[in-house]
């Protein structure tokens, strides 16, 4: 069903489409970031598409790729009952120039989702009316869902208590707590334990 949508985009914007594919029945169109807003507007306004709803907007970080980020938008037509996934690839290897047009003028729901995407990935949405952090605090430095953000780096807002060995306070021993944490333990399957004797 959504295949017709892909053909619609290919017909109207043949130069904008980078790639199309379908996974488990979900049609995906990868477009040039410069055409991001134009394609989205066409999908919303074309009566054959009638995408009234922007379900989700997020990004994926592929540090080994260039462009590095994939901005993903999930569109849904409530009147026609079809869906389409729209992607665009932005950003260089250092994470700079990750910029794309904002969709807030097309769907109001884009407002907070683009703020979240900016907060966690550092993708800048041009034309967003209020692009600031939404989940993290303004003092936070960096964008934690980028793959090069160190997983254990916390940026506490209040200083930790001035007591000795604050990392692991009594009654917990040094080997206790954070039982799934990467700092103190590793998870070993039982069979591996027996193999090693």
């Amino acid at each position: 069903m959504a295949q017709a949508l892909v053909e619609l985009i290919l017909r109207r914007f043949p130069e904008a489409v980078v790639q199309t594919h379908a996974q488990l029945g979900d049609e995906t169109v990868v477009v040039q970031p410069a055409k991001w807003h134009e394609v989205a507007q066409a999908l919303r306004d074309d009566p054959a598409a009638a995408m009234e709803m922007l379900v989700d907007l997020t990004a994926v970080d592929f540090p080994e790729r260039e462009p590095r980020f994939e901005v993903v938008a999930h569109l849904l037509s409530l009147s026609r009952g079809h869906r389409l996934r729209l992607k665009a690839r932005v950003g260089d290897a250092g994470g700079e120039r990750a910029e794309i047009a904002s969709l807030t003028d097309l769907w109001a729901s884009a407002n907070w989702m683009e703020r979240e995407c900016y907060d966690l990935f550092g993708v800048v949405f041009r034309g967003h009316p209020d692009l600031r952090r939404i989940l993290l605090y303004p003092e936070f430095i960096g964008h934690p869902l980028r793959r090069d953000y160190p997983a254990e780096r916390a940026q506490p807002l209040v200083p930790y208590r001035d007591v000795p060995n604050v990392d692991k306070l009594p009654p917990f021993g040094p080997e206790e707590g954070m039982s799934f944490g990467r700092r103190a333990h590793e998870l070993v399957r039982d069979e591996e334990v027996t193999d090693e004797g």
Binding site: P144, L157, P171, S179, V188, D190
Partner: protein, 190 residues
């Protein structure tokens, strides 16, 4: 337990009881805890179960929640505390009147649980002192009642050291339940 020294029954019929002032004050405090529930996450469901009629912790004198920290003396921290919430939590703790106690409900409040990341505080004892830890994800109501009774015991004894509720059943000691072994990090063999 406080020492309430009454005359032996059947002897002198005078109805006088003697005790020490500190003990009777502690006895009154432990049965009239005014709680401030700082409830942030999924442990809230178990917290509701404990407050509800089936497990009913009104029996322990901890019935009345006070949604002002200035009127409460027991801070329940139920759920994950994020770095963004930490200043709020610290301010609430500082607003509470002495003597005050803190109970960490669940693994996230106690040590951060599996949220070993940029967003969460790895245990509320990084921010404020904590007196009773109730581990569990979430803890069963019985464990919470154990924690409350442990706290009452500590109040009676005047013991402000941190302590935790030990599980009645340790899954690590039950080979049928343990799917994985967890061992301290060290150099990998082979």
């Amino acid at each position: 337990m406080g020492e309430l020294r009454a005359p032996p029954p059947g002897g002198d019929t005078a109805s006088a009881i003697t005790t020490r002032a500190a003990e009777v004050i502690a006895w009154a405090q432990k049965y009239s805890l005014f709680m401030y529930p700082f409830v942030t996450a999924c442990c809230a469901m178990e917290f509701m179960a404990v407050t509800g009629p089936r497990f009913d912790f009104s029996r322990f004198g901890a019935e009345a929640p006070r949604f002002s920290p200035r009127q409460s003396d027991l801070l329940w921290i139920v759920g994950t505390i994020t770095q963004r919430q930490a200043p709020v939590l610290k301010r609430i703790y500082e607003q509470m009147a002495e003597p005050k106690w803190v109970l960490a409900f669940g693994t996230c409040a106690a040590v951060g649980g599996f949220y070993d990341n940029y967003a969460c505080v790895p245990g509320i004892d990084k921010i404020i002192p904590c007196h009773v830890y109730v581990p569990g994800c979430p803890p069963r109501p019985e464990a919470v009642l154990d924690g409350l009774m442990l706290l009452q015991d500590k109040i009676q004894r005047g013991d402000r050291s941190p302590q935790r509720v030990t599980p009645r059943v340790d899954p690590a000691q039950q080979p049928d339940l343990a799917l994985h072994s967890i061992r301290p990090r060290g150099p990998r063999q082979g």
